[in-house]
Symmetry: C2
Subunit: 332 residues, 2 copies
Amino acid sequence: MGKSMLDVVVDCDGFPYYNDDPEHYKAHMQGFHTFRVQGCDAVLGYMLNEIAERFSSFTNKLASDDFAKDYWYIDSTARTITLATAVDTGPEDRSRVVAYTLAKMKEEGVFDVLRGWRDELYPVYGRGGKLLLEIERSACPLFGVVSYGIHMTGYVKDKNGLRIWVPKRSEKKQTFPGMYDNTVGGGMSTKEYPFECALREAEEEASLSRKVMEAKTTPVSCLSYIYVRDKKAGGETGLIQPEVEYIYDIELDADTIPKPNDSEVQEFHLLTVDQVRTALWEGKFKANCGIVVVDFLIRHGILTGENEPGYVDMLTRMHRRLEFPTASHVVS
Amino acid sequence: MGKSMLDVVVDCDGFPYYNDDPEHYKAHMQGFHTFRVQGCDAVLGYMLNEIAERFSSFTNKLASDDFAKDYWYIDSTARTITLATAVDTGPEDRSRVVAYTLAKMKEEGVFDVLRGWRDELYPVYGRGGKLLLEIERSACPLFGVVSYGIHMTGYVKDKNGLRIWVPKRSEKKQTFPGMYDNTVGGGMSTKEYPFECALREAEEEASLSRKVMEAKTTPVSCLSYIYVRDKKAGGETGLIQPEVEYIYDIELDADTIPKPNDSEVQEFHLLTVDQVRTALWEGKFKANCGIVVVDFLIRHGILTGENEPGYVDMLTRMHRRLEFPTASHVVS
């Protein structure tokens, strides 16, 4: 036996907590700049100092008539990086400055994570769930802003007991190649609702039809955590990635077999609970997928306070209260 | 419509969070002494300053040869109250000092909450889940130490949809009289395991047999929060009560009818989901029971991120990371 279930959770939620040790927390925070947008008083993300320094020396070198020149204000004493667009600027104009800057940075190879450019925009929200701007997906960990996604566990419950559909990621994926994933999972782009995202990803990743999804899916929870990127995530390490993941369960008949419909997944396995536990112990799951499996095993009565050390600790870390504004996804 | 579901959760978890507003949090903490035990470096609870002052003036007035005289060290500058028994004292001897002191305080009417004396001992744990001492149940909120309990929701799922067994507390209960409760709920005493406690309470409060319990109960989660006591809780207000509650679901046949077996519960109602929601809006549930119902409605797909504002916020508050050591209840 390798990792405990609590280790699996800490692999996904590795950022320190103030109340665990205030002095350590304060010292740790010295390593980050806070990301802000002019006109919003909330902190939107944490950027590693060394990233902020590289960011700053890049923007300092921009020509004086460069479009982005005056929009970035980096204060290395207060440790802030501010998108200094006018207070009344709208999301589109803010996003334009960010997109322009990041495209230049990608071109000049300033940051490794930008090699994984996705051409997908992720939203950043201010207080009250107000959309402030959009950022290229691969750049979100540079700013340490919250991203949103959905994860769904497909399972079969029959005479063979409870089994879970676990896909193996393609060895060619740029992030977490060859690792175990959740049955369906993916990031929510701006204006997308959780179930809409689940429908899209279920079709793409597992060939699960809208009909099956609408009949059998249950929204069951929401996990939140701050992931600290390591080597397996690709690019610079130590970047932080706060995430909010809407969680779904789908009970499938044994004859509904998920099939990969894109290149992300290599193959699906229908694993017993014991096999899933072993895979968790062996660290085979992608970090934020392991936590979803742990939550599933808790909700289904398999991991309990009487059989799993660190049970309370696991539950609190999987539902971390983020210090950044988060979106509302209520359908109006 | 009165309360939002988030209001219901905040009624149960009303203590501020550092990261929501560090300055406000620090100012708020000025109102508390930290409770410590000599030989353990962890903070075990928060005691309101005014409680600490009353505590201090009581112990100061003890005769110089009084048994408890030298065991309490209250520092109003550092704002600490320390049980100053020798470092190598065992739980029994620490508990003896506490019991003796509290019995005298009860006798002299020092604290209102002690009028609700229960003659039940609750455990206080140090680092690594080590038992440090036991405290009379009604006195726990004075010290602000973590208490442990179980809550179980009994439900029926049939052609009439999902319905929940909701008991109404007796009008004669000293705390939260006449309010709605969970199907089964109760506090765990020292050395009791969660399911053992659930069995005992299910028999006492709902006449559910061990056989039914063992066949149909699923452990599904654990909630944690810091409750700030208000008038309905009885006694002094503003005392804090951090709690860890192990959560169970039990699906019952429509013909298994819970019956009160003690004087705590007046009667059981089988409420539809809409009736339960209305009761939550109307603030009819006891604070920490409302949160259990909200968690149930989330896990069963009724409250979702798409229909309930504050969904993410609710989930993080219901799984609050406590800054005090907590027990492990793993059965060895």
